[in-house]
């Protein structure tokens, strides 16, 4: 029996989202970006908003996000994605707008833009991938690197007296009145992926309400930067990252009293 006929007879139970392009992803094997991209586009598919959404890619490993997401996108300067997203949303208020940013982009060079966009309550979604390292530039220390974490610019381990503390930007921005929905998720297991997907759906539903910024942190990994096998990074996330960055909702609309 020819292969095509065999495939026809099988029931399709899961497939790549239509809104993800067929481009070969440049991400390292085991990298959380690939999962996060796929789930994000799956939600765009399921909500039927491919023609009504504009995304902003950062500078960092996900600088080429626009190659994989078959939607209108803009590539921002390093740290400025939420300012670019502000510009887009202000002139296209009827569209869904999101930025997708890493920890160096969002919580180091772009801290001012992050805080002020959220403080203005821009009706955008910010997806924040936190893997505690600069992946694209070769594994340097990030604002979110853990205590004692060895990177190419903290070769003896992150020393808080010298380098300061892991920046919990998500807890910080949750205090801002402009933040409508703030949650910390992950993508390293089937269970966390399901929860991340639900958070994305919530965020896009909330964006329709025009009540403020939705912010989803994704605690992720960096096999190359952490110098681990993909499987080892899963254990590291559970044992090292999650105690510092615990998963769950930090601010949900019910608590906003509106």
């Amino acid at each position: 029996m020819p292969e095509e006929m065999l495939i026809e007879q099988m029931e399709c139970v899961y497939q790549k989202p239509h809104t993800l392009t067929d481009d070969y992803m440049h991400y390292c094997p085991g990298c959380g970006h690939a999962v996060a991209h796929k789930i994000l586009m799956e939600v765009v598919d399921e909500m039927g908003i491919q023609e009504d959404i504009i995304g902003v890619a950062p500078v960092g490993c996900s600088v080429f996000a626009y190659n994989y997401m078959n939607i209108d996108m803009q590539e921002a300067a390093h740290g400025r994605a939420s300012a670019v997203a502000t510009g887009i949303k202000r002139v296209r208020p009827d569209k869904y707008v999101f930025s997708y940013q890493g920890d160096g982009d969002l919580a180091a060079i772009g801290t001012a833009e992050t805080i002020h966009s959220i403080n203005r309550g821009e009706n955008i979604l910010i997806v924040f991938i936190n893997n505690g390292i600069y992946g694209m530039t070769g594994g340097q220390m990030a604002p979110t690197s853990l205590f004692g974490q060895k990177t190419s610019t903290s070769p003896y381990g992150r020393d808080v007296e010298h380098n300061g503390y892991p920046l919990k930007i998500t807890e910080l921005i949750a205090h801002l009145p402009g933040a409508y929905y703030v949650t910390r998720q992950a993508v390293h297991s089937p269970n966390t992926v399901r929860k991340f997907k639900k958070a994305l759906k919530n965020a896009f539903e909330y964006q329709k309400l025009n009540k403020g910024t939705c912010f989803i942190e994704v605690v992720s990994n960096c096999p190359s930067g952490w110098k681990m096998t993909p499987k080892e990074t899963l254990t590291y996330i559970e044992e090292k990252m999650l105690p510092e960055y615990p998963l769950g909702d930090i601010k949900v609309p019910a608590h906003n009293n509106n």
Partner: protein, 364 residues
């Protein structure tokens, strides 16, 4: 509700520019306060809510220019303005905007520098404005107004050029032009129609996706993008040069000045002519593209150029390049927020003539 038809008003340069932007169909303005241009943001935050468009005070000039990037990329007609230190902060974003070929209008109400400098007028940002300013090979289209009327007119001209060439246009003003009041006649509201361009990110309804980027990892592709930009700048140089001349037909000494000093130098020409000195004036209106040809043509028939600027000598380099050694190019500048006086320019002309007569006498 005020009338929005063509009308004459007495206004500050900054306010005239802001009013002109609304009449030119501005969709969105993003900016940050800085002296001496804050009236632009103030005027727009007062007027736009009553009329049309978006105005937003950003947390910094860095944020402003990146909001401009986003909104221009989404197909809106957008503008930001600042003064020298703020423009320095914007340079990275301007480079991205030029590279991604996004049309927008930028305004620099220049103050004296370097550093925090002063809030008084200057032309110290000529190099930054005309030679790129940020990183990489790019150019802005640069318009230099010399009156409050031109602070209005060049807004319309600036949007037209920016959209025609998909390139940022910069109005290079100064602290005096921004603050001084003059009579200004406004065009009618809505006289500059605007359509959302096909390349804009507006949601991929009924078409392939649009994406805006300046990142091209393959050197062949990046060179191709660079060559495309350079061809565009060449086309702009061929088609968009603007300048004015005054009394140059029989002139022996020709002043070259842009912006407010050009008006001061016009007075100098009158004073010189009254004393029997054949002086003239070239006033570049577009600083990029620079009016090379008129400078080159004149250089073959006059005795001297005298370039007058409110800086240490910046445009003078472009005049020297265009004159190409055909005649001497002299320079008179004031800095730090000081304006040049017609009489001191006249003294400079007299010195130049006297000095060259001494030289000629020595050779005989």
């Amino acid at each position: 509700m005020e009338t929005q038809k063509s009308e004459i008003r007495l206004m500050k340069g900054n306010e005239a520019l802001a009013e002109a932007a609304i009449r030119a169909g501005l969709d969105a303005y993003f900016g940050y306060p800085i002296t001496p241009q804050s009236e632009v943001l103030e005027y727009l935050t007062l007027e736009i809510p009553k009329r049309r468009g978006i105005v937003l005070q950003a947390e910094s000039e860095v944020a402003s220019i990146n909001m401009i990037y986003g909104a221009a990329g989404a197909g809106a007609r957008v503008m930001t303005s600042s003064s020298s230190p703020g423009m320095s902060l914007m340079q990275e974003g301007i480079s991205y905007i030029a590279a991604a070929e996004l049309p927008c209008l930028l305004v620099n109400v220049v103050r004296g520098g370097p550093g925090l400098g002063t809030i008084q007028p200057s032309q110290g940002d000529y190099f930054q404005a005309t030679k790129g300013g940020g990183h990489g090979d790019y150019r802005l289209i640069v318009l230099a107004p010399s009156s409050v009327q031109e602070m209005c007119d060049f807004v319309f001209e600036g949007f037209k050029l920016a959209e025609k060439y998909r390139n940022p246009t910069l109005i290079l003003s100064d602290g005096a032009l921004g603050q001084m009041m003059e009579k200004v006649e406004f065009p009618e509201d809505g006289s500059l129609p605007h359509q959302i361009p096909a390349w804009a990110t507006t949601g991929k309804k009924g078409r392939e996706r649009n994406f805006i980027t300046s990142l091209h990892m393959e050197p062949e592709k990046m060179e191709e993008i660079n060559l495309h930009l350079q061809r565009k700048y060449k086309e702009i140089e061929e088609n968009e040069v603007r300048y004015e001349t005054f009394e140059t037909d029989d002139a022996e000494v020709v002043l070259v000045a842009f912006g407010l000093p050009a008006r001061i130098c016009q007075k100098t020409v009158e004073l010189a002519r009254a004393k029997g000195i054949k002086a003239g004036l070239v006033r570049p209106i577009t600083l990029f593209p620079f009016p090379k040809k008129i400078i080159s043509d004149l250089s073959k028939k006059i005795d001297h150029f005298l370039v007058v600027e409110l800086n240490a000598g910046q445009m003078v380099e472009d005049v020297m390049l265009a004159a190409n050694g055909n005649c001497p190019v002299h320079f008179k500048g004031r800095m730090g927020g000081m304006l040049v006086q017609p009489e001191e320019v006249l003294e400079e002309i007299e010195k130049i003539i006297e000095h060259s007569m001494t030289l000629n006498a020595g050779q005989e």
